[in-house]
Protein backbone atom coordinates (compact mmCIF):
# COMPACT_ATOMS: atom_id res chain seq x y z
CA UNK A 1 0.00 0.00 0.00
CA UNK A 2 1.36 3.44 -0.93
CA UNK A 3 0.67 6.12 1.63
CA UNK A 4 0.44 9.81 0.76
CA UNK A 5 3.32 11.96 1.98
CA UNK A 6 2.73 15.66 2.36
CA UNK A 7 4.41 18.43 4.28
CA UNK A 8 6.50 16.74 6.94
CA UNK A 9 7.34 13.79 4.72
CA UNK A 10 5.70 11.30 7.07
CA UNK A 11 2.92 9.19 5.53
CA UNK A 12 -0.62 10.40 6.15
CA UNK A 13 -2.64 7.70 7.94
CA UNK A 14 -5.91 9.63 8.43
CA UNK A 15 -7.26 12.36 6.21
CA UNK A 16 -10.47 14.30 5.82
CA UNK A 17 -10.94 16.69 2.90
CA UNK A 18 -13.93 19.07 2.82
CA UNK A 19 -15.93 16.79 5.05
CA UNK A 20 -19.39 17.69 6.32
CA UNK A 21 -21.21 15.43 8.75
CA UNK A 22 -24.95 15.20 9.28
CA UNK A 23 -27.28 13.99 12.02
CA UNK A 24 -30.49 13.51 10.07
CA UNK A 25 -30.87 16.69 8.02
CA UNK A 26 -28.81 18.79 10.40
CA UNK A 27 -25.26 19.64 9.36
CA UNK A 28 -23.16 19.44 12.51
CA UNK A 29 -19.68 19.58 10.98
CA UNK A 30 -19.01 21.90 8.04
CA UNK A 31 -16.32 21.36 5.40
CA UNK A 32 -13.45 20.40 7.65
CA UNK A 33 -10.09 19.24 6.38
CA UNK A 34 -7.35 17.67 8.46
CA UNK A 35 -4.77 14.93 8.30
CA UNK A 36 -2.96 12.82 10.86
CA UNK A 37 0.47 11.50 10.04
CA UNK A 38 2.42 8.44 11.00
CA UNK A 39 4.05 8.78 14.42
CA UNK A 40 1.72 11.59 15.44
CA UNK A 41 -0.64 12.15 18.36
CA UNK A 42 -3.23 14.59 17.05
CA UNK A 43 -5.60 16.27 19.50
CA UNK A 44 -9.03 17.70 18.69
CA UNK A 45 -9.90 20.47 21.13
CA UNK A 46 -12.94 22.68 21.38
CA UNK A 47 -15.96 23.57 23.49
CA UNK A 48 -18.90 21.18 24.06
CA UNK A 49 -20.96 20.62 20.95
CA UNK A 50 -18.29 21.86 18.57
CA UNK A 51 -18.36 18.62 16.56
CA UNK A 52 -15.17 16.90 17.76
CA UNK A 53 -16.77 13.52 18.49
CA UNK A 54 -18.73 13.70 15.24
CA UNK A 55 -15.51 14.12 13.24
CA UNK A 56 -14.09 11.00 14.89
CA UNK A 57 -17.29 9.07 14.16
CA UNK A 58 -17.04 10.04 10.47
CA UNK A 59 -13.66 8.29 10.30
CA UNK A 60 -15.17 4.98 11.45
CA UNK A 61 -18.40 5.23 9.44
CA UNK A 62 -20.65 5.89 12.41
CA UNK A 63 -21.99 9.16 10.99
CA UNK A 64 -23.48 10.20 7.63
CA UNK A 65 -20.99 12.40 5.79
CA UNK A 66 -20.09 14.20 2.59
CA UNK A 67 -16.50 14.58 1.40
CA UNK A 68 -13.43 12.36 1.34
CA UNK A 69 -12.41 10.49 4.45
CA UNK A 70 -9.42 8.21 4.11
CA UNK A 71 -7.66 5.77 6.39
CA UNK A 72 -4.24 4.48 5.27
CA UNK A 73 -4.85 6.42 2.06
CA UNK A 74 -7.97 4.40 1.20
CA UNK A 75 -11.54 5.75 1.27
CA UNK A 76 -13.27 4.46 4.43
CA UNK A 77 -16.13 3.18 2.27
CA UNK A 78 -13.77 0.77 0.51
CA UNK A 79 -13.07 -1.17 3.72
CA UNK A 80 -15.07 -4.15 4.89
CA UNK A 81 -16.18 -3.80 8.52
CA UNK A 82 -13.45 -6.15 9.73
CA UNK A 83 -10.75 -4.58 7.57
CA UNK A 84 -11.70 -1.16 8.91
CA UNK A 85 -11.50 -2.51 12.46
CA UNK A 86 -8.01 -3.86 11.73
CA UNK A 87 -6.98 -0.43 10.41
CA UNK A 88 -8.63 1.79 13.02
CA UNK A 89 -9.52 1.21 16.68
CA UNK A 90 -12.22 3.47 18.10
CA UNK A 91 -13.10 4.25 21.67
CA UNK A 92 -16.41 6.07 22.19
CA UNK A 93 -17.02 8.69 24.84
CA UNK A 94 -19.69 6.65 26.59
CA UNK A 95 -19.77 2.91 27.17
CA UNK A 96 -22.83 0.75 27.18
CA UNK A 97 -21.91 -2.04 29.54
CA UNK A 98 -25.09 -3.73 30.71
CA UNK A 99 -23.76 -7.28 30.86
CA UNK A 100 -21.36 -8.02 33.72
CA UNK A 101 -18.68 -9.65 31.57
CA UNK A 102 -15.25 -10.37 32.97
CA UNK A 103 -12.67 -7.67 32.28
CA UNK A 104 -10.51 -10.16 30.34
CA UNK A 105 -13.44 -11.13 28.08
CA UNK A 106 -14.07 -7.45 27.25
CA UNK A 107 -10.41 -6.77 26.43
CA UNK A 108 -10.15 -9.93 24.32
CA UNK A 109 -13.04 -8.72 22.15
CA UNK A 110 -10.47 -6.29 20.75
CA UNK A 111 -9.03 -9.30 18.88
CA UNK A 112 -12.38 -9.94 17.12
CA UNK A 113 -11.35 -8.24 13.83
CA UNK A 114 -8.37 -10.58 13.58
CA UNK A 115 -10.31 -13.83 14.14
CA UNK A 116 -11.60 -16.07 11.37
CA UNK A 117 -15.30 -17.09 11.48
CA UNK A 118 -14.87 -20.06 13.80
CA UNK A 119 -11.46 -19.09 15.10
CA UNK A 120 -10.63 -18.85 18.78
CA UNK A 121 -8.23 -16.65 20.70
CA UNK A 122 -4.61 -17.82 20.56
CA UNK A 123 -2.12 -17.77 23.41
CA UNK A 124 -0.64 -14.68 21.72
CA UNK A 125 -4.02 -12.92 21.92
CA UNK A 126 -4.28 -13.72 25.62
CA UNK A 127 -0.74 -12.47 26.24
CA UNK A 128 -1.43 -9.26 24.34
CA UNK A 129 -4.62 -8.65 26.33
CA UNK A 130 -2.82 -9.29 29.64
CA UNK A 131 0.08 -7.05 28.61
CA UNK A 132 -2.29 -4.19 27.70
CA UNK A 133 -4.22 -4.55 30.95
CA UNK A 134 -0.90 -4.29 32.72
CA UNK A 135 -0.01 -1.16 30.71
CA UNK A 136 -3.16 0.65 31.83
CA UNK A 137 -2.66 -0.43 35.44
CA UNK A 138 -5.42 -3.04 35.47
CA UNK A 139 -3.35 -6.20 35.97
CA UNK A 140 -5.06 -8.44 38.50
CA UNK A 141 -8.53 -7.28 37.40
CA UNK A 142 -8.88 -9.96 34.69
CA UNK A 143 -11.66 -11.88 36.45
CA UNK A 144 -13.51 -8.87 37.87
CA UNK A 145 -16.92 -8.06 36.42
CA UNK A 146 -16.76 -4.91 34.34
CA UNK A 147 -19.99 -3.59 35.87
CA UNK A 148 -18.35 -3.54 39.32
CA UNK A 149 -15.55 -1.19 38.22
CA UNK A 150 -15.42 2.57 38.67
CA UNK A 151 -15.81 4.91 35.67
CA UNK A 152 -12.07 5.48 35.45
CA UNK A 153 -11.29 1.77 35.66
CA UNK A 154 -13.79 1.03 32.90
CA UNK A 155 -12.16 3.71 30.76
CA UNK A 156 -8.76 2.09 31.27
CA UNK A 157 -10.16 -1.33 30.35
CA UNK A 158 -11.60 0.11 27.15
CA UNK A 159 -8.23 1.70 26.31
CA UNK A 160 -6.65 -1.73 26.85
CA UNK A 161 -9.23 -3.17 24.45
CA UNK A 162 -8.30 -0.58 21.79
CA UNK A 163 -4.60 -1.37 22.27
CA UNK A 164 -5.37 -5.09 21.94
CA UNK A 165 -7.11 -4.34 18.64
CA UNK A 166 -3.58 -3.58 17.39
CA UNK A 167 -4.79 -1.25 14.61
CA UNK A 168 -2.69 1.19 12.60
CA UNK A 169 -4.56 4.18 14.00
CA UNK A 170 -6.50 4.82 17.18
CA UNK A 171 -9.41 7.22 17.40
CA UNK A 172 -10.20 8.04 20.99
CA UNK A 173 -13.08 10.17 22.17
CA UNK A 174 -12.06 11.76 25.47
CA UNK A 175 -9.89 8.87 26.70
CA UNK A 176 -8.95 10.66 29.94
CA UNK A 177 -12.30 12.22 30.87
CA UNK A 178 -12.85 9.89 33.85
CA UNK A 179 -9.21 9.45 34.87
CA UNK A 180 -7.32 10.99 37.76
CA UNK A 181 -4.13 12.99 36.96
CA UNK A 182 -1.86 9.97 37.52
CA UNK A 183 -3.67 7.77 35.03
CA UNK A 184 -4.36 10.64 32.59
CA UNK A 185 -0.61 11.10 32.26
CA UNK A 186 -0.03 7.33 32.15
CA UNK A 187 -2.56 6.93 29.31
CA UNK A 188 -1.06 9.81 27.33
CA UNK A 189 2.38 8.19 27.73
CA UNK A 190 0.94 4.92 26.44
CA UNK A 191 -0.39 6.80 23.40
CA UNK A 192 3.01 8.38 22.80
CA UNK A 193 4.58 4.92 22.87
CA UNK A 194 1.86 3.57 20.59
CA UNK A 195 2.76 6.00 17.79
CA UNK A 196 6.50 5.32 18.05
CA UNK A 197 6.44 2.53 15.48
CA UNK A 198 4.71 4.50 12.78
CA UNK A 199 1.12 4.42 13.99
CA UNK A 200 -1.08 7.42 14.73
CA UNK A 201 -3.62 8.60 17.30
CA UNK A 202 -6.50 11.03 16.82
CA UNK A 203 -7.76 12.04 20.21
CA UNK A 204 -10.69 14.22 21.31
CA UNK A 205 -9.66 16.05 24.47
CA UNK A 206 -10.89 18.64 26.93
CA UNK A 207 -7.70 18.98 28.94
CA UNK A 208 -5.74 21.65 27.07
CA UNK A 209 -2.64 21.07 29.22
CA UNK A 210 -2.49 17.37 28.38
CA UNK A 211 -2.76 18.30 24.69
CA UNK A 212 0.01 20.90 25.04
CA UNK A 213 2.25 18.35 26.72
CA UNK A 214 1.58 15.16 24.76
CA UNK A 215 0.08 16.03 21.34
CA UNK A 216 2.21 16.75 18.31
CA UNK A 217 -0.47 18.77 16.54
CA UNK A 218 -3.81 20.18 17.56
CA UNK A 219 -7.00 21.18 15.75
CA UNK A 220 -9.17 23.71 17.54
CA UNK A 221 -12.85 23.36 16.62
CA UNK A 222 -15.80 25.67 17.16
CA UNK A 223 -19.39 25.53 15.86
CA UNK A 224 -18.74 22.52 13.64
CA UNK A 225 -15.67 23.84 11.87
CA UNK A 226 -11.92 23.72 12.39
CA UNK A 227 -10.65 27.18 13.35
CA UNK A 228 -6.95 26.44 13.77
CA UNK A 229 -4.63 23.55 13.00
CA UNK A 230 -1.10 23.89 14.32
CA UNK A 231 1.69 22.26 16.26
CA UNK A 232 0.94 22.10 19.99
CA UNK A 233 3.90 24.45 20.54
CA UNK A 234 2.24 27.08 18.36
CA UNK A 235 -1.01 27.32 20.28
CA UNK A 236 -1.38 30.74 21.83
CA UNK A 237 -3.78 32.30 24.32
CA UNK A 238 -5.65 34.20 21.58
CA UNK A 239 -6.54 30.98 19.74
CA UNK A 240 -7.84 29.37 22.93
CA UNK A 241 -9.74 32.52 23.92
CA UNK A 242 -11.34 32.70 20.47
CA UNK A 243 -12.45 29.07 20.53
CA UNK A 244 -13.53 28.69 24.17
CA UNK A 245 -15.02 32.20 24.63
CA UNK A 246 -13.07 32.79 27.85
CA UNK A 247 -9.73 34.56 28.23
CA UNK A 248 -6.67 32.28 28.53
CA UNK A 249 -3.15 32.77 29.78
CA UNK A 250 -0.22 30.54 28.77
CA UNK A 251 2.75 30.32 31.10
CA UNK A 252 6.13 28.74 30.39
CA UNK A 253 7.26 26.44 33.20
CA UNK A 254 10.24 24.05 33.36
CA UNK A 255 10.58 23.88 29.60
CA UNK A 256 6.87 23.19 29.04
CA UNK A 257 3.78 25.35 28.75
CA UNK A 258 0.74 25.61 31.01
CA UNK A 259 -2.59 27.05 29.85
CA UNK A 260 -4.97 28.64 32.33
CA UNK A 261 -8.51 29.82 31.62
CA UNK A 262 -9.07 33.14 33.41
Amino acid sequence: MTLAHEGSGKPILLSAVDVSVYYGNKKVVCDISLDVRSGEVFALLGPNGSGKSTVVKAFVRLAEKEGDVKILNLPVESFTRKALARAAAYMPQKFQLVMPFKVMDVVLLGRYPWLSFLGDYSGKDLDLARCNLDKVGMAGFEDRKITTLSGGEVQRVMIAQCLTQDASVMLLDEPTSALDPKYSIAVMRILRNYVKNGRAVLCVMHDVNLALRFADRVALMKDGSVRYVCSSNEIDANMLSDVFDVPWHIETWQGGRIALPL
Binding site: L62, R81, K82, Y90, P100, F101, Y112
Partner: protein
Protein backbone atom coordinates in the same frame (compact mmCIF):
# COMPACT_ATOMS: atom_id res chain seq x y z
CA UNK B 1 -16.02 -20.68 37.09
CA UNK B 2 -12.63 -21.68 35.65
CA UNK B 3 -12.12 -23.97 32.65
CA UNK B 4 -11.87 -27.16 34.73
CA UNK B 5 -15.00 -26.22 36.64
CA UNK B 6 -16.86 -25.60 33.39
CA UNK B 7 -15.80 -28.98 31.96
CA UNK B 8 -16.96 -30.64 35.20
CA UNK B 9 -20.25 -28.72 35.00
CA UNK B 10 -20.86 -29.84 31.40
CA UNK B 11 -20.01 -33.47 32.25
CA UNK B 12 -22.41 -33.47 35.21
CA UNK B 13 -25.10 -31.79 33.09
CA UNK B 14 -24.76 -34.35 30.31
CA UNK B 15 -25.09 -37.13 32.86
CA UNK B 16 -28.13 -35.38 34.36
CA UNK B 17 -29.74 -35.04 30.93
CA UNK B 18 -29.23 -38.75 30.25
CA UNK B 19 -30.51 -39.73 33.70
CA UNK B 20 -33.54 -37.42 33.38
CA UNK B 21 -34.36 -38.85 29.99
CA UNK B 22 -34.28 -42.40 31.39
CA UNK B 23 -36.46 -41.30 34.29
CA UNK B 24 -38.86 -39.57 31.90
CA UNK B 25 -39.20 -42.87 30.01
CA UNK B 26 -40.02 -44.67 33.27
CA UNK B 27 -42.52 -42.20 34.75
CA UNK B 28 -46.19 -42.11 33.76
CA UNK B 29 -49.52 -43.81 34.29
CA UNK B 30 -47.77 -47.12 33.68
CA UNK B 31 -44.59 -47.08 35.72
CA UNK B 32 -41.77 -48.89 33.95
CA UNK B 33 -38.81 -49.95 36.09
CA UNK B 34 -35.55 -48.20 35.16
CA UNK B 35 -33.69 -51.50 34.50
CA UNK B 36 -36.38 -52.37 31.94
CA UNK B 37 -35.93 -48.95 30.29
CA UNK B 38 -32.17 -49.46 30.15
CA UNK B 39 -32.56 -53.01 28.81
CA UNK B 40 -34.94 -51.87 26.08
CA UNK B 41 -32.65 -48.98 25.07
CA UNK B 42 -29.60 -51.28 24.96
CA UNK B 43 -31.58 -53.82 22.94
CA UNK B 44 -32.73 -51.17 20.47
CA UNK B 45 -29.23 -49.87 19.87
CA UNK B 46 -28.01 -53.44 19.41
CA UNK B 47 -25.91 -53.85 22.55
CA UNK B 48 -27.96 -56.76 23.95
CA UNK B 49 -29.72 -59.52 22.07
CA UNK B 50 -32.19 -61.05 24.51
CA UNK B 51 -35.24 -59.75 26.33
CA UNK B 52 -36.94 -61.00 29.46
CA UNK B 53 -40.07 -60.29 31.52
CA UNK B 54 -42.80 -57.89 30.40
CA UNK B 55 -40.66 -56.18 27.80
CA UNK B 56 -43.24 -56.70 25.05
CA UNK B 57 -45.89 -54.75 27.01
CA UNK B 58 -43.54 -51.90 27.74
CA UNK B 59 -42.18 -51.86 24.20
CA UNK B 60 -45.17 -50.03 22.69
CA UNK B 61 -45.43 -47.52 25.52
CA UNK B 62 -41.73 -46.74 25.46
CA UNK B 63 -41.20 -46.61 21.72
CA UNK B 64 -44.39 -45.01 20.52
CA UNK B 65 -45.37 -42.78 23.44
CA UNK B 66 -42.61 -42.01 25.91
CA UNK B 67 -39.46 -41.95 23.74
CA UNK B 68 -40.77 -39.45 21.15
CA UNK B 69 -42.31 -37.38 23.96
CA UNK B 70 -39.10 -37.34 26.01
CA UNK B 71 -36.96 -36.38 23.03
CA UNK B 72 -39.47 -33.75 21.94
CA UNK B 73 -39.60 -32.25 25.44
CA UNK B 74 -35.81 -32.00 25.55
CA UNK B 75 -35.55 -30.46 22.08
CA UNK B 76 -38.29 -27.91 22.78
CA UNK B 77 -36.71 -27.00 26.14
CA UNK B 78 -33.29 -26.59 24.55
CA UNK B 79 -34.75 -24.24 21.93
CA UNK B 80 -36.54 -22.15 24.57
CA UNK B 81 -33.42 -22.03 26.79
CA UNK B 82 -31.07 -20.89 24.01
CA UNK B 83 -33.48 -18.43 22.42
CA UNK B 84 -34.08 -16.89 25.86
CA UNK B 85 -30.34 -16.28 26.26
CA UNK B 86 -30.11 -14.97 22.69
CA UNK B 87 -33.02 -12.55 23.14
CA UNK B 88 -31.62 -11.27 26.44
CA UNK B 89 -28.21 -10.66 24.83
CA UNK B 90 -29.68 -9.23 21.66
CA UNK B 91 -32.17 -6.86 23.27
CA UNK B 92 -29.86 -6.03 26.20
CA UNK B 93 -32.76 -6.73 28.50
CA UNK B 94 -32.73 -9.34 31.28
CA UNK B 95 -36.51 -9.71 31.03
CA UNK B 96 -36.48 -10.67 27.37
CA UNK B 97 -37.30 -14.22 26.31
CA UNK B 98 -38.53 -16.07 23.28
CA UNK B 99 -41.96 -14.53 23.63
CA UNK B 100 -41.03 -10.89 24.27
CA UNK B 101 -41.53 -9.91 20.66
CA UNK B 102 -45.01 -11.40 20.56
CA UNK B 103 -43.92 -14.40 18.47
CA UNK B 104 -45.65 -16.86 20.80
CA UNK B 105 -48.83 -14.81 20.90
CA UNK B 106 -48.78 -14.68 17.09
CA UNK B 107 -48.32 -18.43 16.89
CA UNK B 108 -51.07 -19.06 19.44
CA UNK B 109 -53.42 -16.71 17.57
CA UNK B 110 -52.65 -18.53 14.32
CA UNK B 111 -53.54 -21.83 15.97
CA UNK B 112 -56.64 -20.33 17.59
CA UNK B 113 -57.90 -19.05 14.21
CA UNK B 114 -57.35 -22.48 12.65
CA UNK B 115 -59.19 -24.20 15.53
CA UNK B 116 -62.03 -21.65 15.58
CA UNK B 117 -62.72 -21.92 11.86
CA UNK B 118 -62.10 -25.69 11.66
CA UNK B 119 -59.12 -25.36 9.37
CA UNK B 120 -57.14 -28.57 9.54
CA UNK B 121 -53.79 -26.74 9.40
CA UNK B 122 -53.30 -25.78 13.04
CA UNK B 123 -49.51 -26.15 13.08
CA UNK B 124 -48.83 -24.31 9.80
CA UNK B 125 -51.19 -21.55 10.97
CA UNK B 126 -49.34 -21.32 14.28
CA UNK B 127 -45.98 -21.14 12.52
CA UNK B 128 -47.24 -18.52 10.09
CA UNK B 129 -48.73 -16.50 12.94
CA UNK B 130 -45.35 -16.38 14.69
CA UNK B 131 -43.45 -15.31 11.59
CA UNK B 132 -45.98 -12.64 10.55
CA UNK B 133 -45.83 -11.21 14.05
CA UNK B 134 -42.05 -10.96 13.91
CA UNK B 135 -42.24 -9.16 10.55
CA UNK B 136 -44.84 -6.74 11.93
CA UNK B 137 -42.80 -6.00 15.06
CA UNK B 138 -39.60 -5.55 13.06
CA UNK B 139 -41.17 -3.12 10.57
CA UNK B 140 -42.69 -1.14 13.46
CA UNK B 141 -39.36 -0.76 15.21
CA UNK B 142 -37.05 -0.42 12.21
CA UNK B 143 -36.09 3.19 11.55
CA UNK B 144 -33.24 4.29 9.24
CA UNK B 145 -30.25 1.93 9.46
CA UNK B 146 -30.47 0.87 13.06
CA UNK B 147 -32.93 -0.90 15.33
CA UNK B 148 -33.36 0.37 18.84
CA UNK B 149 -33.75 -2.60 21.24
CA UNK B 150 -36.11 -0.62 23.49
CA UNK B 151 -38.32 0.22 20.52
CA UNK B 152 -38.24 -3.42 19.47
CA UNK B 153 -39.36 -4.59 22.92
CA UNK B 154 -42.08 -1.93 23.08
CA UNK B 155 -43.39 -2.93 19.66
CA UNK B 156 -43.30 -6.59 20.71
CA UNK B 157 -45.21 -5.95 23.93
CA UNK B 158 -47.86 -3.83 22.18
CA UNK B 159 -48.31 -6.23 19.25
CA UNK B 160 -48.38 -9.18 21.69
CA UNK B 161 -51.14 -7.49 23.72
CA UNK B 162 -53.23 -6.83 20.62
CA UNK B 163 -52.84 -10.46 19.53
CA UNK B 164 -53.81 -11.73 22.98
CA UNK B 165 -56.90 -9.53 22.91
CA UNK B 166 -57.83 -11.01 19.54
CA UNK B 167 -57.32 -14.49 21.00
CA UNK B 168 -59.65 -13.70 23.90
CA UNK B 169 -62.21 -12.37 21.44
CA UNK B 170 -62.11 -15.66 19.54
CA UNK B 171 -62.41 -17.61 22.79
CA UNK B 172 -65.50 -15.60 23.66
CA UNK B 173 -67.02 -16.12 20.21
CA UNK B 174 -66.30 -19.87 20.19
CA UNK B 175 -66.82 -21.07 23.79
CA UNK B 176 -67.36 -24.67 22.63
CA UNK B 177 -63.71 -24.85 21.57
CA UNK B 178 -62.21 -23.56 24.80
CA UNK B 179 -60.55 -26.94 25.53
CA UNK B 180 -58.60 -26.88 22.27
CA UNK B 181 -57.66 -23.21 22.74
CA UNK B 182 -56.45 -24.04 26.22
CA UNK B 183 -53.82 -26.42 24.78
CA UNK B 184 -52.16 -23.56 22.90
CA UNK B 185 -52.23 -21.16 25.78
CA UNK B 186 -50.75 -23.48 28.41
CA UNK B 187 -48.65 -25.78 26.24
CA UNK B 188 -48.72 -29.57 26.26
CA UNK B 189 -46.80 -32.55 24.92
CA UNK B 190 -49.90 -34.73 24.85
CA UNK B 191 -49.77 -35.05 21.07
CA UNK B 192 -46.04 -35.84 20.89
CA UNK B 193 -45.18 -38.45 18.30
CA UNK B 194 -42.35 -39.47 16.00
CA UNK B 195 -44.13 -37.48 13.26
CA UNK B 196 -43.39 -34.14 14.96
CA UNK B 197 -39.91 -35.02 16.14
CA UNK B 198 -37.84 -34.07 13.04
CA UNK B 199 -39.09 -30.46 13.20
CA UNK B 200 -38.17 -30.16 16.87
CA UNK B 201 -34.81 -31.87 16.28
CA UNK B 202 -33.94 -29.44 13.47
CA UNK B 203 -35.01 -26.46 15.62
CA UNK B 204 -32.85 -27.76 18.49
CA UNK B 205 -29.84 -28.26 16.18
CA UNK B 206 -30.25 -24.70 14.90
CA UNK B 207 -30.42 -23.52 18.51
CA UNK B 208 -27.16 -25.36 19.15
CA UNK B 209 -25.59 -23.57 16.18
CA UNK B 210 -26.14 -20.27 18.00
CA UNK B 211 -23.18 -21.27 20.17
CA UNK B 212 -20.98 -20.48 17.16
CA UNK B 213 -22.13 -16.86 17.33
CA UNK B 214 -21.27 -16.35 20.99
CA UNK B 215 -18.67 -13.68 20.28
CA UNK B 216 -21.09 -11.68 18.15
CA UNK B 217 -23.60 -11.69 21.01
CA UNK B 218 -20.88 -10.51 23.40
CA UNK B 219 -20.04 -7.72 20.97
CA UNK B 220 -23.66 -6.59 20.71
CA UNK B 221 -23.72 -6.03 24.45
CA UNK B 222 -20.85 -3.52 24.12
CA UNK B 223 -23.21 -1.21 22.23
CA UNK B 224 -23.94 -0.53 18.59
CA UNK B 225 -21.03 1.82 17.88
CA UNK B 226 -18.41 -0.32 19.57
CA UNK B 227 -19.65 -3.52 17.93
CA UNK B 228 -19.56 -1.92 14.46
CA UNK B 229 -16.07 -0.55 14.95
CA UNK B 230 -14.83 -3.94 16.10
CA UNK B 231 -15.82 -5.32 12.72
CA UNK B 232 -19.37 -6.63 13.04
CA UNK B 233 -22.34 -5.49 10.98
CA UNK B 234 -24.75 -5.12 13.85
CA UNK B 235 -27.91 -4.51 11.81
CA UNK B 236 -27.35 -7.66 9.75
CA UNK B 237 -26.36 -9.72 12.80
CA UNK B 238 -29.40 -8.55 14.78
CA UNK B 239 -31.69 -9.43 11.90
CA UNK B 240 -30.12 -12.87 11.45
CA UNK B 241 -30.25 -13.71 15.17
CA UNK B 242 -33.73 -12.32 15.68
CA UNK B 243 -35.19 -14.04 12.62
CA UNK B 244 -33.58 -17.38 13.38
CA UNK B 245 -34.51 -17.31 17.07
CA UNK B 246 -38.11 -16.35 16.23
CA UNK B 247 -38.30 -18.95 13.48
CA UNK B 248 -37.28 -21.84 15.71
CA UNK B 249 -39.50 -20.52 18.52
CA UNK B 250 -42.44 -20.51 16.10
CA UNK B 251 -41.60 -24.08 15.10
CA UNK B 252 -41.64 -25.40 18.67
CA UNK B 253 -44.69 -23.35 19.65
CA UNK B 254 -46.55 -24.78 16.66
CA UNK B 255 -45.88 -28.29 18.06
CA UNK B 256 -46.50 -27.85 21.75
CA UNK B 257 -48.16 -24.50 22.36
CA UNK B 258 -46.89 -21.63 24.50
CA UNK B 259 -44.61 -22.73 27.34
CA UNK B 260 -43.48 -19.75 29.37
CA UNK B 261 -40.68 -19.09 31.86
CA UNK B 262 -38.11 -21.57 30.48
CA UNK B 263 -36.45 -18.94 28.28
CA UNK B 264 -36.57 -16.40 31.08
CA UNK B 265 -35.32 -18.43 34.02
CA UNK B 266 -32.83 -20.90 32.57
CA UNK B 267 -30.30 -18.31 31.25
CA UNK B 268 -30.59 -16.31 34.50
CA UNK B 269 -29.89 -19.31 36.70
CA UNK B 270 -27.05 -20.48 34.50
CA UNK B 271 -25.37 -17.08 34.46
CA UNK B 272 -24.87 -17.53 38.19
CA UNK B 273 -23.04 -20.79 37.50
CA UNK B 274 -21.13 -20.31 34.23
CA UNK B 275 -20.87 -16.51 34.02
CA UNK B 276 -22.24 -13.99 31.53
CA UNK B 277 -20.04 -14.71 28.52
CA UNK B 278 -22.15 -16.26 25.76
CA UNK B 279 -19.34 -18.71 24.94
CA UNK B 280 -20.47 -20.81 27.92
CA UNK B 281 -23.97 -19.53 28.50
CA UNK B 282 -25.48 -20.63 25.18
CA UNK B 283 -24.49 -24.30 25.41
CA UNK B 284 -25.38 -24.40 29.11
CA UNK B 285 -28.81 -22.91 28.26
CA UNK B 286 -29.30 -25.51 25.54
CA UNK B 287 -28.87 -28.30 28.07
CA UNK B 288 -30.48 -26.42 30.96
CA UNK B 289 -33.62 -25.60 28.98
CA UNK B 290 -34.02 -29.21 27.95
CA UNK B 291 -33.40 -30.40 31.49
CA UNK B 292 -35.88 -28.01 33.07
CA UNK B 293 -38.63 -28.94 30.64
CA UNK B 294 -37.94 -32.65 31.09
CA UNK B 295 -38.52 -32.33 34.84
CA UNK B 296 -41.54 -30.05 34.36
CA UNK B 297 -43.08 -32.57 31.97
CA UNK B 298 -42.35 -35.47 34.34
CA UNK B 299 -43.95 -33.55 37.22
CA UNK B 300 -46.96 -32.65 35.04
CA UNK B 301 -47.44 -36.33 34.14
CA UNK B 302 -46.90 -37.51 37.70
CA UNK B 303 -49.52 -35.09 39.04
CA UNK B 304 -52.01 -36.14 36.40
CA UNK B 305 -51.50 -34.89 32.87
CA UNK B 306 -51.40 -31.18 33.72
CA UNK B 307 -50.42 -28.79 30.90
CA UNK B 308 -46.65 -28.45 31.20
CA UNK B 309 -46.87 -24.64 30.94
CA UNK B 310 -48.69 -24.59 34.29
CA UNK B 311 -45.78 -26.41 35.94
CA UNK B 312 -43.07 -24.23 34.38
CA UNK B 313 -44.93 -21.12 35.59
CA UNK B 314 -45.73 -22.57 39.03
CA UNK B 315 -42.18 -23.75 39.68
CA UNK B 316 -40.34 -21.20 37.57
CA UNK B 317 -42.14 -18.18 39.02
CA UNK B 318 -41.06 -18.76 42.65
CA UNK B 319 -37.51 -19.69 41.55
CA UNK B 320 -37.32 -16.43 39.63
CA UNK B 321 -38.64 -14.51 42.64
CA UNK B 322 -36.00 -16.19 44.80
CA UNK B 323 -33.35 -15.21 42.27
CA UNK B 324 -34.56 -11.59 42.30
CA UNK B 325 -34.63 -11.55 46.09
CA UNK B 326 -31.09 -12.90 46.38
CA UNK B 327 -29.52 -10.79 43.61
Amino acid sequence: MDRKGYIFFITVSLFLVFFSMCLSLAVGEVRIPLPEVARMLLYKIGLTSSMTGAFGVYDTILLFVRLPRTLMVFFVGSVLGVTGAVYQGLLLNPLAESYTLGVASGAALGATIAIAFNVNLVRPFAFLGGILTLLGVWSLSHRSRSVDPTRLILSGVVVGSILQALMMLLQTLFPEKLGAFFFWIMGSFGSASWKWLPGCLIASCIALLFTLLHRELDLISLGEGKAETLGMSIVRMRWVLLCTASLITSVVVSYCGVIGFVGLIVPHLLRMLVGHSHSRLLFASWMGGGLMLLWADMAARAIGSLPVGVLTALVGGPIFCLFLWRS
